[in-house]
Symmetry: C2
Subunit: 188 residues, 2 copies
């Protein structure tokens, strides 16, 4: 096999998702994933460090992209607006490459181990937004609370986007979630 194989990563992701759906995450081995993708186990580990990360490929780019978007927002924008605008922009790009998002959701929802990893990824997003807000001179306590709220809205908006099967643009999903949160807090 050629060392340089531009389709390999995508094939591995697709193979993993298929196998996790068919057999359950816990029952699948890296060897099986590699075989289905026409690769070796050793090749697998050139792309992903473990069995979980194949489902979170590219997620390491989200926190820095969001931080950059928050930092460069109009200085007069309110902190939560800056965070939500950043999430809307980055999220709109993200969903363009979110093939298999629904299947991925099904796999994660069935595995406490994957849910754990997903929460760790969400915490990294919160930390990136919080630190970027602090650079905009938002005080630490407020920055932390707003970053948590924005991450929560993002996660739920992505879920809505999946459920809408591509019929609703991501920013609209995020607006809908934000409106619901506002309505809930207005009702207390």
């Amino acid at each position: 096999m050629a060392r340089w194989d531009p389709g390999a990563e995508e094939r591995l992701k697709r193979a993993a998702l298929e196998l996790y759906l068919e057999q359950g995450y816990d029952n699948v081995t890296v060897t099986q994933i590699a075989e289905r993708a026409g690769l070796t186990r050793r090749s697998y580990f050139r792309y992903f460090p473990d069995k979980r990360e194949v489902l979170f490929a590219g997620s390491e780019r989200l926190p820095p992209a969001l931080a950059e978007a928050v930092r460069t927002a109009d200085p007069d924008t309110a902190p939560l607006t800056a965070a939500l605008d950043a999430l809307a922009r980055v999220g709109a790009r993200l969903v363009e490459h979110a093939d298999g998002a629904k299947e991925r959701r099904t796999v994660i929802d069935a595995s406490p181990e994957l849910q754990e990893r997903e929460r760790t990824k969400a915490a990294a997003i919160t930390a990136a937004i919080r630190d970027a807000l602090k650079q905009r001179h938002v005080d630490a306590g407020t920055a932390d609370l707003i970053a948590q709220l924005a991450t929560m809205a993002f996660h739920n908006a992505f879920q809505r986007w999946i459920e809408a099967k591509g019929r609703a643009p991501f920013p609209n999903c995020l607006d809908a979630v934000t409106d619901e949160l506002r309505a809930a807090l207005g009702g207390t």
Copy 2:
């Protein structure tokens, strides 16, 4: 050593917290904790399944207590209010037994593994509130969003309560966080 030792669990919790602070969570063994508490390693495992759970003792009682409080709230109460009232009541009882909360926070903040466990515990709280709201005929999507918002407020209120060093009652901390969230959403 007598088999029945009513102070053993408290001594183990205290010993673990001390050792984690002194030496770092990763560097401490169960044997060390047991020895400092004047117990055997075997005794330790009668109380806690692993090295992490000693820091989360009693946390398994929170989700059912919250679910019960949400279910029994006045039927006319808005969903988020029902959730926040439940959290205020259960939280006020919780902080009466929260000795060492600040030290515990320091230990958790220094360990990704412990943060992971803490997020899993938070997810169990969210699930309990969500299910209790659904039993109050709140639709599934709203119940989920409100449960996440309430859990987030709870977590932050507990943090504020620790920082206030007992000078602010827990329900006041929760109100303050809720007000800030409302203000943040009002400003978007």
